[in-house]
Symmetry: C2
Amino acid sequence: MSQRPDPDQPPASGTGARRPPDPSRRNARSRAAILGASLQLVGEVGYARLTIEAIAARAGVGKQTIYRWWPSKAAVLLDAFTENGGEPGAEPAIPDTGDLAADLRAVLRATADEFSDPAFEAPYRALAIAGAQDADLSREFDARLAGGGIEVYITRLRAARDAGQLREDVDLRLAAEMLTGPFFQRWLARRGPLDHDFTDALVDTVLAGLRPRG
Amino acid sequence: MSQRPDPDQPPASGTGARRPPDPSRRNARSRAAILGASLQLVGEVGYARLTIEAIAARAGVGKQTIYRWWPSKAAVLLDAFTENGGEPGAEPAIPDTGDLAADLRAVLRATADEFSDPAFEAPYRALAIAGAQDADLSREFDARLAGGGIEVYITRLRAARDAGQLREDVDLRLAAEMLTGPFFQRWLARRGPLDHDFTDALVDTVLAGLRPRG
């Protein structure tokens, strides 16, 4: 519990320090090692058995280094997942080619492919589990998901509605939840395969209920 | 770790033993106390902080008694939830009045009411979290949910399809997932209120996509 001269926060990037040993650079290396170790380990042992001790051992740092920077294993994973390329296919927005069905089919197919990749799936599952237990973490996870959150669906659906492709009175948030909720449930509760047949049928059936009436 | 003469399994009910002290009855009392304590505690501290030790202390038993009967806290909760009235409103089937929309609205309104009750919500959330981490537990949870699983929706939708109220080519499983998935996601990820406006709109929008085409 002794006070240490290290800064409370690791540097976001190198900021012009010259002389070795450079504590900023050392901290950046430690931080990257910790984040990488957390992603590896959660894929190996799952979230329930993931410990700060194991992350520290894998990263080659003391566990106090981790506790100085993060309050919990969930917080480590959140940074690791959102900063370390944990979302390879995510885009800040759903493309708008003018063909809503094609655009939604493409994004949900890409999402299904992502969730079939254990390197992506394991930390995402861990964060979903952590979020289910911690409302604050859940909100932060949603806020930091570039393209993974529900807002990108709402934005794309709004454009389609404004173009007359959906009913004027469509509930955009509900429609977005109808696209993401069945996928989320099938994935998290392992209710069936996350394949393109599923995502295509989901898009088509949801849109069938949102088209302008005859 | 000493061998004890107690049976491995607690009795399901009293089976005619006469003389006090009756080990069957004592076991049944302990079992009920453990199940009740697990439901109380998960509501108080959440799943992550729930421990076998705390359940044992609250139930007034030794923790070895719990470990003799259950392999994990999740297994205790599963029995507690499915045997101890954890599903007050659940029915083995969705009523069939002939009006599919009315029947689905009623069952989803009742489900929303259940999930607004912390005594129901906390153990259900714990089991959803445990199931997300353990595929076997997830399957067992689904299998033991009288009325909570997806099959009751499929059965009701099939009857409507056979009555000509839905398209002949409707994907019944997908339709059931469209009714339950958005609810599950909104609840587990705390994405919005689980009120009757939400469930009614969900039913109506899903069914709009499943009706026979003009």
